[in-house]
Symmetry: C3
Subunit: 194 residues, 3 copies
């Protein structure tokens, strides 16, 4: 696999046959054109290792997207793992892990999107402390909307590792997404490979 | 990594330097405070094992969230895997796997949220058996809404395993989510590690 | 684990005790019936291998679902991996990976659902090139809706491998989902196992 695999992520630079055109395995799938530009290549075999790291994020508002890409890449570099994958895992039900673009205006769009999806202004029985009896804490606050958003966001992302780097595309960044009020959040980073 | 890693999931108890304060690697990311509380630690190396288990769930309504956390943890314990991960996988397109909180009022909120997201009362061409010719079965019923909900929910969750336990946070529980009418559902549990 | 595990995905054919009935470990969970039909079975141990493949998809419209199941299964077969898993990963922030049913009318329903979720007709600051200064490219176009949809869709799917096959259920197919305008898309396929 050529070095351009992870450098820039510009697909048009992939030259499977050295001539910049898809190879003979291309076919149409419905109307779309699908080309296998790299048949499965054995990247690594041998005794694998499992590393675990942790970060804690003190969020400042909800919703909030906090870019953790560099920290995760730094952790990966420290392990020396060259081929494998990284599982980024939020241990929460109202904070998730997202892969998207880090563009300030878009981030505001995504906050508005989440509010339309499940607004904190809507009515949630989970927020009615006059009737709720289960899982009540000292610092309980109204976060039914955050749980509902979390259903569609999830709490994890798995990223392939190629040549010691996260195989993120050109615009892909890893974020913690706070959907609740400002809180202290714990993220596990499990790094696996050879 | 200290035992408190998995005990309670209370982030404020994490004491990376033994003094309860984040270590020197903390920095601000926009406004948020991000601290690496555990640099990548080698948890295991050696010949790994892959185990596979299966459960079948007879659901009683749609939507329905069925807590399968204890069953998955029991399966993990039987394998003796100490470090690795568990892939919980629904083999369906109208039933998914969810991580969220098991609080009865919240569960009702989530049912209402799913209905707002894609209501069974909306019109779906998939439900028009007068024109549909593909993938028709004997027991076909109107479930276009469930397929659309499934797009955002997904059919799997990957949970890290630390010290022989699912590294779920304090409020995190694993659920099968039925989005269709009552059906028999199959869940694969792949347990990997050392 | 019997061969019927992956053949057809019809749950009612699972016969854990050879008599077609759930075994003694069944219990009720709320109202639902949960049965462990296969306790964790050691499927493989030994030196694992990591393979990586790549496909490029030229999409023709947005949204568009492109079925890539056969290509991924072919790649898996070429590796000879019998037990493990496959990570299918889109290196994009406006194209994702989906598991759902390939039924033509349903696919049209899903396009309409995505449009209701985040319509291209809505207003997004990301699309306002008169004020935006970050991550601007030559071929920039209005795709705020695609980023918002991507938040809920994600860019990856992990599928277990059993007996050399993707353990997809009867109706499950793997798709690339284009949410933006027609573009060239790169998908990584990481195949891991023994």
């Amino acid at each position: 696999m050529e070095a351009n695999f992870l450098e820039g992520g510009v697909v048009s630079e992939v030259k499977p046959n050295g001539n910049g055109k898809p190879n003979g395995k291309a076919h149409t799938n419905g109307k779309a054109h699908v080309a296998v530009t790299q048949e499965p290549e054995l990247r690594a075999t041998g005794m694998p290792r499992l590393h675990l790291a942790q970060m804690v994020v003190q969020t400042q508002r909800g919703p909030e997207l906090i870019d953790i890409t560099e920290k995760v890449q730094d952790m990966l570099a420290k392990t020396g793992i060259k081929e494998g994958n990284v599982l980024v895992y939020s241990r929460h039900t109202t904070a998730g892990i997202v892969i998207n673009e880090n563009e300030p205006l878009l981030i505001q769009d995504m906050y508005r999107f989440l509010e339309r999806l499940a607004s904190p202004a809507d009515t949630y029985s989970h927020n009615d402390f006059s009737i709720r009896t289960v899982n009540m804490c000292e610092d309980e606050c109204a976060n039914g909307h955050a749980h509902c958003q979390h259903l569609t966001i999830g709490c994890q992302q798995m990223v392939p590792v190629v040549e010691g780097h996260l195989a993120l595309g050109r615009w892909q960044r890893l974020f913690l997404l706070e959907m609740d009020h400002p809180r202290t959040r714990e993220v596990l980073i499990q790094i696996f490979g050879i």
